[in-house]
Symmetry: C2
Subunit: 323 residues, 2 copies
Amino acid sequence: MGTDRRLPSQRDVSAVLNPSSTVKIAEATRRRVWAAAEELGFRPNEMARSLRSRSSNVLGLVSSEIATTPYAVAIIKGAQEAALARGMMLLIIDTDGAPEITDDALAAMTRWRVEGLILAADHHRAIDPHATGTPTVLVNCFAADGSLGGIVPDERQGGRLATETLLAAGHRRIGFINGPDDFPASTGRLAGYLDAHRAAGLPVDPRLSRTGDWWQESARGATSELLGLDDPPTALFCANDWMAMGAYDAIRERGLGIPDDVAVIGFDNRIEIAAHLSPTLTTIALPYREMGRRAVEYLVADGPATDLVPCPLVPRQSVRAPS
Amino acid sequence: MGTDRRLPSQRDVSAVLNPSSTVKIAEATRRRVWAAAEELGFRPNEMARSLRSRSSNVLGLVSSEIATTPYAVAIIKGAQEAALARGMMLLIIDTDGAPEITDDALAAMTRWRVEGLILAADHHRAIDPHATGTPTVLVNCFAADGSLGGIVPDERQGGRLATETLLAAGHRRIGFINGPDDFPASTGRLAGYLDAHRAAGLPVDPRLSRTGDWWQESARGATSELLGLDDPPTALFCANDWMAMGAYDAIRERGLGIPDDVAVIGFDNRIEIAAHLSPTLTTIALPYREMGRRAVEYLVADGPATDLVPCPLVPRQSVRAPS
DNA sequence: GTGAAAGCGCTAACAT
DNA sequence: ATGTTAGCGCTTTCAC
């Protein structure tokens, strides 16, 4: 019975259980350790591990009002996925937008010695970031002073894609109902609308652009005006799905059909709306999950300072397929 | 110049910075410690603290598909709030419903030595919980074998409240469009519907109850049938907001008005729908945030084994105010 | 290849 | 009221 009955030392156990250890351990020892760990249900204590190795393997995510906003949660989800895939923990705190909670959250992150910090916002906007000693990425927001890298949706590409989708379906007069000027989403989506026209060699009729307030009613009015023009648009690009919903109302009021009389494309892909209007709404999605994922990559691999994530098309019924 | 220049010992620092310490420290020492901590930006290392004190001050929340479901996120939010208020960290992992991720999540929770575990589901249902060595609460779900305490919405009280709201508005014939039988939400809401009738001394006309599939179309059909009856209902209780949306369609098709010809009440308070229909939808809210909050209380204070959280009314325009 | 020993940053028990 | 010391559960030298 040549079985070695001595206990492996602590060091061996550590090396076996720790995939990242470089220490060489005999196969026999490995097996004994695994078997014992299995039998005892042993789980290494992460606190002790972190303390000793002076690396917590923890990333922090502090978000403002994300967890209360139906869709932006996907940012958290994406970050979570990426972190777990790398064997890291994600510490998440949502602040509801309250500054004192943000301070507390940041303090907590420091006490837990997070190795990187993700600051995320519920909608694309500028923020005034606290300086912490920790590597930090911004998601869905950017530093007003440009001091920090930010991962944001490529609004311009999205606006262009929306417009091109309409162009591809044969439309030549495309109305645009935008949000207020002071949102990055508005300026970006407008730029994309213009880009698409330019690329197609088509003139832009300024009378076809209106500004709404992101809400349904404003777009209903704007759509009515647009449809009342001598040479009305045959398609409408609404800068968000709520406004697309308002456009639907106005189009129906005139007894017109979607997509045959007027095609409509939205932005944001709020599926509770987009997938349930009739006809269902073709729209551009905000790549939240991907943004969360990239935030983690950025922190661990030191990615680019600013990252524009493309917004994909979600084709549904409100735009005819190209012929 | 009586200033004491000696450094306070480690023990004093620990006692001062630790609110829960019972050790008595002189006021002068306290001040010196605070000042130094402030100046150095000192933040105690939570890992070391947890390791030594053999208590992690961490709670774990593992949820299935919550972070991808627009509203149930509020469970996480509520739990977060309550945990932070008690100075505890909440470790959150959403599993997307995949069993192997759940196992990983549970293993991670163990390695971080969580002192309590919250298992949450995206909709009210029975689950088959893993046994872990850690105190566990279920939220929005219950153990099929009754082995674990669960915090769930009081569907029955909600169904009763919905029905009573209609009764209070003067309605006597109330249609009920329920979800499929095999959901706790369906059986509970039906029981509440019956309760309200019984309490009001009103008979229940079985022809007024229909079963939908939670989706808009099914309720549209059911509503049409109901409205085609010789003695049609003057009010409709739809077991969720999507179905209320379908009821709206059917009511409009008949040229009837809401709430004057037919009142409608929904359930779930999916605000993206409820607040944006016209007229806006009166509905019953699921108390997700409160449920998350209670889960934490349960774990730290050893609350009741099963907890039914009341569902509040959210009055909007689809039911006339009581006269 | 393996074992022994030190020490991460704290808290708690024991002295003074 | 304050200082000293041991040790939480690991990882990492360092000697063998």
